[in-house]
């Protein structure tokens, strides 16, 4: 989620290049918000892309038009709502909403911003094993297939392991055999899991 080229400064271009390089080094495939292919409604494409991402990275700095800044915060809010970790790069503390300051904000005017960013990415990479898979496992046991699938999907997006995919398939088969679940809901959930599995296998 970076501003389009016309609003970028020399400093922000360097930071953006470093962000993209670090993501590529960790085998993530960076997608720039301003270059998302527009199909149908633009907002719809943003949402679809955000749902399929492991994490979000946003950048704000002085000199950006208010409409662009509000757009960036709106998109980070959507990603947070989808349960994705969002890292926010900013030039000054005063440019940040208070909710972001504690964990996910990095000030790129400091010298060690790149090492902070890399360590935050490493922490995010631990989320599947430490948190997502654990909750997913209990949700699966409790018969909450929607939540279990959601957590395992998030875990797979951050750390694509074959085991996670196998668990997702076992959730799908358990859901198929489960009784007492409304048919339409069951069908929607099954399609969701099967679509996810088929897309990531490609």
């Amino acid at each position: 989620m970076a501003p389009s080229n016309k609003y970028q400064t020399d400093a922000s271009k360097v930071v953006l290049r470093n962000i993209i390089k670090s993501l590529s080094d960790l085998s993530y495939e960076p997608i720039e918000g301003s270059r998302i292919v527009r199909h149908g409604d633009y907002f719809c494409s943003i949402c679809q892309t955000a749902q399929g991402c492991a994490l979000g990275v946003a950048m704000v700095y002085d000199g950006l038009p208010v409409s662009t800044i509000s757009n960036i915060y709106f998109e980070t809010g959507i990603m947070q709502g989808f349960g994705k970790p969002v890292i926010l790069f900013a030039d000054k503390r005063k440019n940040l909403p208070s909710d972001y300051i504690r964990h996910y904000a990095i000030f790129y005017n400091s010298k060690d911003y790149l090492s902070k960013y890399k360590s935050l990415l490493e922490d995010i990479a631990k989320l599947p094993e430490n948190v997502y898979e654990c909750i997913g496992q209990f949700a699966f046991k409790a018969g909450d297939y929607e939540k279990a699938a959601k957590y395992y999907q998030e875990a797979f997006l951050i750390n694509p392991k074959q085991e996670t995919l196998l668990t997702l398939e076992s959730i799908a088969s358990a859901l198929e055999q489960a009784s007492g679940i409304p048919t339409a809901y069951k069908q929607r959930l099954l399609e969701n899991i099967q679509y996810f599995c088929s897309r990531v296998k490609k």
Binding site: R102, H103, F138, A139
Partner: protein, 68 residues
Amino acid sequence: MLASNHVLGGDTTMAKRDNKSGKLKGAVSKRIQVLNPVTKRYVKIDTERGRIVDHKRSPGPYKNVRKK
């Protein structure tokens, strides 16, 4: 307060208090805690429903809750 306790699973079996020493004995059942690597804070999970029920505000683990 009562309503929110109920929503968060207030019917959990609490750790028992030892009559002699007055200290808590045993762990709270149906709950575990895991460390969120990003926030560095412990998260309490309801193992019966597979849901996050609480997120610690201060460093360190919850007392009398099993760690994963």
